[in-house]
């Protein structure tokens, strides 16, 4: 790989990182509006308000960036970057199409992706503590508790796919993919997607943010661009979790005419899953913090373990 090639790949990742979360954000405006029987933002940019998010960005950039007097200033300022950057790094390892259509093939890509995703939560924890605000601290505490509960089912269900494919490399998993993996790994896929949504603190798992009770949790004291960075991290997280679910459990670029249209299948599957994430926000009320914990430990962990056992049995029988 020469320098120009590497630069092209990194530029493509950066472009995807800048465009896809905005698309998801705009889709969220519109999908939620139509599910609730209204039209959503219609004016900015003319056609169906397509430029609303750009206008929001301009608004955030103009707002004053305040830091509370009692806050730990350096950590308070650093936190949004730490929340956002891991999602950019993860995109590097996600395969889009066949034959090396991936920014960087990693031998242990699956472990890399899950490891870097786990780092992002440090941003929320730092934000919650450094704000010197009781609501922010409560939000950060809930974030940490939720992450520790949902990391385990996430890892277990991902391990099931790695066992099925016999490799930890994401392109390698897709090369080994067969269509009957979808029913075989269905339970694991549901666990992975649900746990991923919980790690992103998306509704119905948004007790750590919960505007009505703890006023946006760890992000209470943020304004302007730094708050926008947290919002961007949330949308980037939706893209990453949807893309990972598509790659691990729905066959990624596999589909009709996958040699030439593989990248389209990946994008379509990612888009459909992102739609589900948005749908969940409209469809379900928020779970309480204790209900979130109980759901992880009494439902998701046993199901993930059962999926792991099933994968092992079928691997041994068919080997």
């Amino acid at each position: 790989m020469d320098v120009v090639d590497v630069l092209w790949r990194l530029l493509a990742v950066l472009a995807a990182f800048l465009v896809l979360p905005l698309l998801v954000g705009q889709a969220e405006h519109k999908v939620m509006a139509h599910m609730q029987g209204r039209v959503g933002p219609m004016h900015a940019g003319g056609f169906h308000g397509w430029a609303q998010l750009v206008a929001d960005g301009v608004k955030f950039a103009q707002k004053e960036d305040t830091v509370p007097a009692e806050a730990d200033r350096r950590i308070f300022r650093l936190a949004p970057a730490l929340a956002l950057v891991p999602y950019l790094v993860v995109l590097v390892a996600i395969p889009v199409g066949p034959d090396g259509f991936v920014a960087q093939t990693l031998d242990a890509g699956l472990v890399f992706v899950l490891a870097v995703l786990g780092v992002g939560v440090l941003g929320s924890l730092m934000a919650g503590w450094a704000s010197a605000n009781k609501y922010a601290l409560l939000g950060a505490l809930r974030t940490a508790a939720q992450l520790m509960a949902y990391e385990l089912p996430l890892l277990l269900s991902a391990a099931s796919v790695a066992m099925a494919a016999g490799t930890l490399s994401l392109p390698g998993i897709l090369d080994a993919f067969e269509w009957w993996w979808i029913p075989w790994q269905l339970a694991g896929g549901l666990v992975f997607f649900t746990a991923g949504m919980a790690e992103l603190q998306r509704p119905p798992f948004d007790a750590p943010i919960a505007p009505e009770e703890i006023i946006f949790g760890a992000y209470t004291e943020y304004s302007g661009l730094r708050f926008a960075l947290f919002l961007l991290a949330e949308y980037a997280g939706i893209v990453v979790v949807s893309a990972l679910t598509a790659v691990l459990f729905l066959g990624g670029w596999h589909g009709p005419a996958s040699d030439s249209l593989g990248w389209l299948w990946t994008l379509l599957k990612t888009g459909a899953l992102s739609f589900l994430v948005i749908w969940a926000r409209v469809a379900w009320p928020r779970l309480r913090a204790d209900q979130i914990q109980r759901f992880a430990w009494t439902v998701l962990v046993p199901v993930a373990l059962a999926q792991l056992a099933l994968t092992g049995i079928i691997r041994v029988v068919t080997a």
Binding site: V111, A115, V119, L122, L125, L137, A140, L141
Partner: protein, 179 residues
């Protein structure tokens, strides 16, 4: 490799030493800072630097596991504990305990032991950095073929620690319930 000379370092050697200095600095700051949460965050830097060292030594799998377990879980657990105890912003004057000299002595003794052991064991070992040594397959092979007994012994040890923690916390919560 034919030219095994300490005096003609390659680019990887230089980066290894620089990252090592960062890790050392972060570790020293971690134990000397008087702000509790800052100590945990310096620990993040130190542990992340170690992951970079593993990468430089071509142990890719170990590096990602280091990030997954230590940065993603252990530090989150630490921060969770610090937040539960309402760690204040700014310096904590009572952060230093009276055991400081003892702790220093124990740390120096442990470091001396480990350094002696590692130097004695690997004095003549050289790593060829051009071929990967730590892919998932290689680690799995050596773990489950050569070192399977220590691996199983460790997992039994961890299981015992887990059960012990549950027992201890159950006794405490029952005592708390009687109040």
């Amino acid at each position: 490799m034919t030219s095994r000379e300490l005096l003609s370092p390659s680019g990887q050697d230089v980066v290894f030493v620089l990252v090592g200095l960062v890790v050392l600095g972060a570790a020293v700051l971690c134990v000397t800072t008087r702000q509790l949460v800052h100590a945990a965050l310096w620990l993040v830097v130190a542990l992340g630097g170690l992951a970079v060292q593993y990468l430089l030594l071509t142990a890719e799998f170990v590096a990602w596991v280091q990030v997954l377990i230590y940065l993603g879980s252990v530090v989150v657990l630490l921060l969770f504990g610090l937040m539960l105890t309402k760690a204040p912003i700014g310096p904590s004057p009572d952060a230093d305990s009276g055991n400081r000299p003892v702790a220093l002595a124990v740390a120096l003794a442990a470091a001396a032991l480990l350094v002696t052991l590692v130097i004695d064991a690997f004095r003549t070992a050289w790593i060829d950095l051009d071929t990967p040594h730590g892919t998932a397959e290689q680690v799995g092979d050596s773990l489950f073929r050569t070192w399977v007994l220590p691996f199983e012994a460790l997992s039994v040890l961890l299981l015992a620690a887990l059960i012990g923690a549950i027992v201890v916390s159950r006794v405490r919560s029952r005592a708390g319930g009687d109040r």
